[in-house]
Subunit: 411 residues, 2 copies
């Protein structure tokens, strides 16, 4: 029988009533003849509550215990969803990460899924079960500890299951009705996209658009999983939401598809680092080991054998990055005069596959920012994206300016 993966985010399972609404949608697909794998997030707010306790107790927490704590929210919704489906006479059971088992790496708090054996769940389908409700966001390490996949990891769980089970489609139910040119809360001109290419979605997600976790898009692209983002709060047609698909499936598109941003960035600068071969590895190796998510990296021109090294990372990684770098300094593997952390920056990106064939996108972007008096602190680019760091206070103004400049309100 054909298999469908349906993922429900935190707001879609925020309480028993919402779980019932989501379960009805699952029931519709079961009635069509699908075996359904439902991936659930924790009730909205629950994961933040758990993370808050961990941070209160231990700011430099043991990530293995962090994972043990924060993975618990999804267990609750998985069980409640299974019960709700049973009440509707849909045969269902819940699966915790270790029961499937979802095998991951040992990189706690940002583990990667390595394998999802399908036999346990397939056996229940063969025995008449219609729905497997899987706790998202989690798995187990080779050591048998609970791991989590990073914030938004349930999206990745969903796509990984879709790939493992050869699902016909992976529907991501969330609190927005699709992917927009930018966040509608920031620009009222934001427009919903009917289709978006995997690569664009990948850049938008990694640049801060919170609709999908970056890795889920990577996985979907690699395994050609048809991914649909749609709202769990509206009646659905088959055309609802946004389809994330191959570039070839999109007839025509704008040069720029969207403007993404991320508020929670920090810019860290190491002043006066010895400029010698291997210095970048000596700096970024310890940061990687500490699990710091380094994003942009800029090295200034060297002067008398010394240089400044700037990088950006999520603002809540600053304390750990600071510690990792100080330890590296103490051990003598690196040397620097000063470490300056600027926690008041935001990242802004314009993304579009059309950039490949159109010049002048960067110039237009910088001009639009200049016209609003926004100073650019760091710039990085890729084939289909241009990102800048700016002062956080200008972020909303800048998003609106870019949305206007690239006329994203027009299809």
């Amino acid at each position: 029988m054909p298999t469908l993966v349906m993922k429900f985010g935190g707001t879609s399972v925020a309480n028993p009533d919402r779980i019932k609404r989501a379960a009805k949608r699952v029931g519709v697909e079961v009635a069509k003849g699908y075996n359904v794998i439902v991936i659930v997030s924790a009730m909205s707010g629950k994961t933040n509550e758990l993370v808050g306790w961990v941070n209160e107790i231990s700011p430099l927490y043991d990530a293995r215990e962090y994972d043990a704590v924060v993975a618990s929210g999804e267990l609750v919704t998985a069980g409640l969803m299974a019960l709700t489906l049973q009440e509707m006479d849909v045969p269902a059971r819940s699966w915790q990460g270790w029961q499937v088992p979802v095998k991951t790496t040992s990189a706690h708090a940002s583990a990667r899924i390595e394998e999802i054996p399908t036999d346990n769940i397939v056996r229940t389908f063969e025995n008449g079960m219609k729905v497997a409700v899987v706790a998202g966001f989690q798995g187990i390490s080779p050591e048998g500890r609970v791991t989590t996949l990073g914030r938004g990891g349930s999206d990745t769980t969903a796509v990984a299951f879709a790939a493992a089970f050869g699902a016909e489609r992976c529907d991501i139910y969330t609190d927005v009705d699709g992917v927009y040119t930018t966040d509608p809360r920031v620009s009222d001109k934001a427009r919903k996209l009917d289709k978006i290419a995997f690569e664009e979605m990948l850049e938008l997600a990694s640049q801060g658009a919170k609709v999908l976790q970056t890795r889920s898009v990577e996985l979907a692209m690699r395994y050609k999983v048809k991914l649909r983002v749609l709202s769990s709060f509206e009646e659905q047609s088959d055309q609802a939401g946004t389809l994330v698909c191959d570039e070839e499936e999109i007839m025509e598109s704008n040069v720029v598809s969207g403007v993404a941003f991320s508020r929670d960035e920090a810019k860290m600068t190491l002043i006066s680092v010895a400029d010698r071969p291997g210095i970048a590895a000596a700096i970024f190796g310890p940061l990687a080991e500490a699990g710091i998510n380094v994003d942009m990296i800029v090295q200034n021109i060297s002067e008398e054998g010394r240089t400044d090294m700037t990088f950006s990372c999520p603002v809540d990684h600053v304390a750990r990055a600071d510690q990792a770098l100080q330890e590296a300094k103490s051990s003598g593997s690196i040397n620097y005069q000063e470490l300056i952390a600027d926690k008041d920056v935001a990242k802004l990106s314009v993304v579009g596959i059309g950039m490949r064939s159109h010049a002048g996108v960067a110039a237009k972007m910088f001009a639009a920012l200049q016209a609003e008096g926004v100073n650019i602190k760091v710039i990085t680019t890729s084939e289909i994206k241009i990102s800048v760091l700016i002062d956080r206070k200008y972020m909303e103004l800048a998003v609106q300016a870019l949305h206007d400049a690239f006329e994203l309100e027009k299809a």
Copy 2:
């Protein structure tokens, strides 16, 4: 190295500050040279929240899913406790039920522990770990599903670990400073007992004294685990709390040690049941299968081949009991005219090992109740206990009357 088990109840781990306070107490024992196994409950209120959601969604829930949901609260506190100990430089890690693994029966929602292999945890102690923080209340079934041990099950987890690891003592930290002659909230004459015999504690626990889960006392009695009940909110001396121990260790005791009660009882009566051999089995078999905790059973005198059968059970089992009996009636295995459920009853018990050698306890109890005008609905007795069902509205009055009648305020 000697091992100690320390169990912290829900109010003792209700928030990060309380967890810190509990962790300090663990640190004191580690400093004395113990390897400590800490058993934690869920934060107070959390399990009720989870149970509430389950009941809202599915009053006749699948107990496997109920367990998957309600076992999650302890995972949170186990991780947080491990983090707190690590912050104090005490080497600690958390253990979820399935990781140990705590092997139980498949009787979901009231599973029994069958085996606790010690090798995984012992290996960590050998490698320098000082504390194993274990999520209480749960285990896994032979089928690999999460099971729970029933409300208050963390006490049983604690005693079972103490038995499995040959612990020197099992300290149960709670929000009261010991075992009282009755609940101090009901009688201000209630007195703390320094020692109480296992059998008395067993009766008190099973008769509704909520200090310890019944099965934990059974286990402690069988495996001779020295059990101490004490408050996590007071400075402790070695003499603090109440020691639950062998009868022989108690020099002298009152005829009656305590008065227990339980508010949440229901009395169910099957009117006009065919009085034939095997009828009791035909009635109580289906109830047992449905997981109904039947307590008292009374069969009235038979008349013309028909009889009335009365039993008591927790008030929240009434709906399930009703369903199980109706199904048995439909299938033809039993027959009755009417099923009457009285949900407004309470159970009252006087308990004491002294009863074995003293006559007249029942007479004194009934006289004291009569003097207050309290009608007795059902009576059952054991060697060291007399229990009655009464109207719930008289419960507090009756407890006070019995406490006075047996002069329990005097040591």
